[in-house]
């Protein structure tokens, strides 16, 4: 007790106390969301990880005993591999298409006058005002055999318009759904670029293209990386879009995982697949932070 009092009386002790008190305050303010995340995110996540090492009983129950790696071994099976690679391919393709479409658009928006810029940004965000599921169903109408999209494509002689329940329809839906997530970070990155740098490059004998290649593109990279992660991660685990617009022949990770839990009643495999998806997303996020940290 005496020691404690002595410590308190010294100024260094007071300073330490103040720091501790501040940290405590922060903790209490954050407590509600900490509890929320704990109950609804961390505990379920723990379950998924635990399930992935658990045993499936004959009746399809998941029993938390005889811990094993069977579910992970099954990830090597040809069927599972096919689904994983297909999902990866679709996610990469979606990301690349989004990037190609979004970059010129973000560039255009960020070079407009502020008023027009804001109008265009609101335009980009309008789709968020209605539910994603409903918007995906709207594509189903547009893509149906006598739907608007189908008829326009066929009238214009652009080939087979009936793509509903095929991979192109899924990619179309994913690009549609995730394009804003690519545009917004790209816009934020490009908008921040000081245009006198471009003038500087032009003054130093760079052509318009070279100035873009050497100055604008590298400086917009944080946006490219952020947008790509934001599109790639949800595309890889997408469930709604493939379920509504895709066929049932070529399932993707999202629906395959649901199948394991619901139809096949194989909790461990469903869980190990989920861990796989999580792992891929985690790698993506880590790349983002590493790259972002280097550039910002």
């Amino acid at each position: 007790m005496k020691k404690l009092l002595e410590k308190k009386s010294s100024s260094a002790g007071l300073e330490q106390q103040a720091v501790k008190a501040k940290a405590r305050q922060g903790f209490f303010v954050g407590l509600p969301s900490i509890i929320y995340l704990l109950i609804f995110f961390l505990i379920p996540l723990g379950y998924v990880i635990a399930y992935s090492f658990a045993t499936r009983s004959r009746t399809g129950r998941t029993e938390l005993r005889d811990w094993n790696l069977d579910a992970y071994v099954r990830l090597g099976e040809e069927v599972v591999q096919a689904v994983a690679w297909r999902s990866l391919w679709i996610a990469v393709l979606t990301t690349v298409i989004c990037l190609l479409l979004a970059y010129p658009l973000a560039f255009y928006i960020s070079t407009r006058r502020p008023v027009i810029r804001n109008l265009l940004l609101i335009g980009i965000m309008i789709p968020f005002w209605s539910n994603f599921l409903i918007r995906t169903y709207a594509w189903r109408v547009l893509l149906s055999s006598d739907g608007l999209f189908t008829r326009i494509v066929e009238e214009l002689g652009l080939g087979e318009g009936r793509i509903l329940f095929t991979q192109p329809a899924v990619i179309l839906g994913l690009v549609y759904g995730y394009l804003p997530f690519m545009v917004l970070p790209l816009y934020a990155a490009i908008e921040r670029i000081d245009w006198s740098l471009v003038e500087g490059a032009r003054d130093l004998y760079a052509s318009g293209w070279k100035a873009f290649r050497r100055v604008v593109w590298p400086l917009s990279r944080p946006g490219v990386i952020a947008g790509s992660i934001l599109v790639f991660v949800p595309s890889f685990g997408a469930y709604v879009t493939p379920a509504i617009l895709g066929g049932n022949k070529q399932s993707l990770m999202g629906s395959y995982i649901v199948d394991q839990f619901m139809d096949a009643r194989n909790g461990p495999l469903g869980s190990s697949l989920s861990v796989l998806v999580l792992g891929v997303m985690l790698i993506g996020t880590l790349i983002y932070f590493r790259q972002g940290g280097r550039n910002l």
Partner: protein
């Protein structure tokens, strides 16, 4: 200045932004190897003029010639000039060396030659040892040097500088003024320097062009501009000046508003109201009644005295206005408030400008 030795020529150059005329019919010839300053308050069109030389803006009318060659619609990368920007515009994702190398790479200079030139330029601005730093790791003065090196490494025919010292503090600015001038002599490149700081322009320039509201009012050596301003704006903008309202009586005589007649040559028409302008340090104060060698005299009374250490500034009331007199005589013959004095001046230091 003949065609062969002119570095930059502007012929009837006009630049309009929508309906606003930023540059209004400018004619200007800058000689090869000259240190030329465009001086004027902000918004006078000096930066726009510089940007038109660089090709970052195109003139609405008129033409820009560099070393006799018509620039026309040539983009900046096709012009033999480089710019030091006001905010330096250093590439934040490149090192100092990378920034300096940029222009050389764009011109496809071979690698060995590049590193040789980079070393030369970095050494020229005394930035040795810092070439691997990023611009954000440099102080303002260092960034400024990199911007200079980045432009000079290309050995442009003309270097354009847009208020390059504006962001630096006073001490550093004064030091850089001297360094810039020495640098210009050393490399022998024509400098076109934009500034709103009259002291900077006077210190460094061979010639100065004073701009106001898009117009080039006067071109001349710093001495011309300071001692023989042709307009009231120039006299007022550069240094301090007294203006006495007057009327032209004849080719060699003007009448002050109190009726005093002064023998001054001017090319203004008879009867025109003008102002005669004289610098505070060109006025001399005497005790009233003491004889002076100067024939031009005005009686007045000392109104206030400000001691500046190296000079004394008197405000002298002369009937209808106050005149500012700056005297470097700080110990002997000091006057105090209320003293009756006579102010005299040498007509060679007086200019007649439009009222």
């Amino acid at each position: 200045m003949n065609q062969a030795s002119s570095a930059v020529e502007l012929k009837n150059v006009v630049k309009k932004f929508d309906e606003v005329t930023a540059v209004d019919d400018i004619d200007l010839t800058i000689g090869d190897g000259e240190f030329f300053s465009l001086l004027g308050p902000s918004g006078c069109g000096k930066t726009t003029t510089l940007r038109m030389i660089a090709g970052l803006e195109l003139p609405t009318a008129g033409s820009v010639l560099i070393h006799g060659e018509e620039m026309g619609l040539k983009p900046p990368n096709k012009r033999p000039v480089n710019t030091v920007f006001q905010n330096y515009a250093l590439f934040p994702h490149m090192t100092v060396a990378g920034n300096v190398e940029f222009g050389l790479r764009m011109q496809k200079v071979p690698k060995e030659k590049r590193s040789e030139l980079i070393d030369w330029a970095i050494n020229l601005v005394e930035m040795d040892g810092l070439s691997h730093r990023k611009p954000t790791q440099l102080s303002g003065g260092q960034q400024q040097r990199v911007a200079l090196a980045r432009a000079l490494v290309n050995r442009p025919k003309v270097l354009l500088l847009d208020e390059p010292l504006g962001a630096l503090d006073l001490k550093l600015r004064q030091q850089m003024q001297i360094e810039l001038k020495n640098l210009q002599r050393e490399v022998g490149i024509t400098f076109v320097y934009v500034t709103h700081d009259q002291e900077e322009a006077v210190t460094m320039s061979d010639r100065i062009g004073v701009m106001h509201e898009g117009k080039l009012l006067q071109i001349g050596t710093p001495e011309d501009i300071y001692e023989r301003p042709t307009t009231r704006f120039v006299a007022d903008f550069i240094g301090r000046s007294n203006f006495l309202e007057a009327t032209v009586a004849s080719e060699s005589e003007v009448v002050l508003s109190n009726g005093d007649r002064l023998q001054l040559e001017s090319d203004h028409t008879v009867g025109e109201s003008v102002a005669i302008t004289v610098r505070p340090e060109r006025l001399t104060v005497h005790k009233r009644g003491e004889s002076s060698t100067n024939q031009h005299q005005i009686d007045g009374v000392i109104d206030s005295v400000v001691y500046l250490g190296n000079a004394i500034v008197y405000s002298v009331s002369i009937d209808w206005m106050n005149l500012e007199v700056r005297s470097s005589e700080t110990s002997n013959s000091r006057y105090s408030e209320g003293d009756a004095v006579t102010i005299s001046f040498d007509p060679q230091y007086v200019s007649v400008v439009s009222g």
